[in-house]
Symmetry: C2
Subunit: 394 residues, 2 copies
Amino acid sequence: MKTVAAAEGIEETTLCSRIADGSAVIMQRETTAIGIGRGLRTKINVNIGTSTGKINMNEELRKARIAEEFGADTISDLSMGGEINAIRDAILACTTLPITTVPVYQTVVEKGMRMMTADDILATMRMQARQGISSFVVHCVSPAMLAEFRKKKRILGVVSKGGSITSAFMLLNDCGNPFIEHFDEVLAICREHDIVLSLGNTARSGCINDPRDRAQVEELRQNAALGHLAHDAGVQVIIEGAGGHIRLDRISPYIRHYKRKANFPLFVAGPLPTDIAAGFDHIAGCVGASVASAAGADYLCYITPAEHLGLPSPEAVKEGLVAFRIAAHIGDTVKYKDGSDQQDRTVAHLRAELDREGQIRCALDPARARQLSDGEKECTMCGEFCAIRIMREF
Amino acid sequence: MKTVAAAEGIEETTLCSRIADGSAVIMQRETTAIGIGRGLRTKINVNIGTSTGKINMNEELRKARIAEEFGADTISDLSMGGEINAIRDAILACTTLPITTVPVYQTVVEKGMRMMTADDILATMRMQARQGISSFVVHCVSPAMLAEFRKKKRILGVVSKGGSITSAFMLLNDCGNPFIEHFDEVLAICREHDIVLSLGNTARSGCINDPRDRAQVEELRQNAALGHLAHDAGVQVIIEGAGGHIRLDRISPYIRHYKRKANFPLFVAGPLPTDIAAGFDHIAGCVGASVASAAGADYLCYITPAEHLGLPSPEAVKEGLVAFRIAAHIGDTVKYKDGSDQQDRTVAHLRAELDREGQIRCALDPARARQLSDGEKECTMCGEFCAIRIMREF
């Protein structure tokens, strides 16, 4: 609590009261504590992990190190390929950042879609909790939501991996949602290991032409209700929503709607305000995430340039992370106005003083800034006709 | 007129009446005609050209070819180093896109800041017009604006190169603005060669902590008044404004204010909603430009990753251009709603059909998309646990 209050520059009592009312959470792991929510700097999560299509542990560890070096706040290990436990142990060993998992991923890989049971999922959660995980994502797809999806009114139906696995489990077994039906047990595991419960966003749109629908409204209603149950049971809660693909002018109203309906920290994946940016989705995502965080999103899940194309390389992870650090910062300059723009003020003064070396040193990626500066002592953009230099004489 | 109306999918009579009332212009060159303004797709300008600090004609020609290949609408040749006329001739020869210049650049290089006269500037304009230029940018800094700048209330004063050269000329010679004082002659040159007159944005802010000030208000008032004079004289006009560095929540109100005060097409540089993104200013610029075009900006001047660091490489030009194509498209999906999102709809259907090759083919940079796709036939992101594939079974 002290660590987070100091890092955020707020009073400990203020932070305390926000954690008490559920509007902020602290995700912690050994020596690290990250505050997420009301009045706190917008945070960024980086997804890493193997898939069944690509398994390279060393690359995943490089991604984890890049995430920490370039300023991620949390990491989600979404590994579904190879020795999942060994990979996660190695990731935990190479970073101090809190790690999130989606327990149904490992369960479905190890048990198979047709064979896994609700008990298997709970067993995975207990095992991952003992490994040292800081947060779980669970997808509380309800039968009402499933019925909406099956009407196939969307161009792209369910684009959430965890949501689709959970939906398939329910449809194959003709059963209710395993997390909702065993919610007390889920809460008990979270409480025992001080794990933050993140209520997933199965119903997010997969393209900008799939606007908000009844499934999304129902998911928000249900996640808010489950969030209150969890909070009352002493479990910290994050709600995921307003992510996916959303036309730019709809992002702020959606975010404000979520924040009105649920007091918990809001975790947003993207959102992407266009579908045409494959190869550059980190840039389109930065646009959506800037607007989302300015409107009140507390926690951003980054998007890499490889989104929609393949598992990201370590370089793509870096590009995505930097783009989302820019988004989080832009959001904070709007959310918190004066005080959040100290870095901007510092850079502006360095520019006014023509302190080129200072600008490079405080860049988000100093090596890249140096490379783009052509290795020249003077800026080659305007050469001797630099506006700042010219106007200095008068 | 026919070409533009067809390209934009609007009636020729509608386009005609917008050109007549000044809310749209056509920038043309031989076989190319680009419509900019009310009801037309948001356009993108790419700045290229040598500086006194870096002169490499072949690189500039590569940039011109990249601009055309990756979908720029216009190019500004801002060359200030080397054989400027020869470089411009070579650029004109290697692209069909309309070319804009800032005549005071070449004049100050050839004549020197202390020696150049208003007649020299007009002579440059006549010469460039004969070369085949489609648009001129002139900075109509007024004595009232100069007086505001000299109060030094801003962290960063004038950050416009053309504006600072023009201001220095006025201060050194203790004279009025050469473009305003010879406005009739400027208009005569434009009219004779069918050149679009772009009224520059000297007063734009250089950091987000320099908010709109009296110099900006005065510049808009004056550019709107000069725009009416030009329009009445049969010269097509664009107004530059609301560019530079602007906090995210201020962008839409600024743009709407400009559009209310001046009916002419609005050309915006950036804007950048943060100062901290050196090395990634194309991404921060994409955020600002998306919001600006959604709010009504008609024409965007791109920003490259090398902004604030050095003259961009051809690769940086490509990165900047693609980021601004994304911004223009995001803006259009908001400005024009249905109909402008056809590309998004196409991509969404390709995704629903798991048509990976189709998605790569219609990417903004297919080679990059292919590289990020790992050369794999199947997407390695989710491997066998693809949400779309899983849900197809139900």
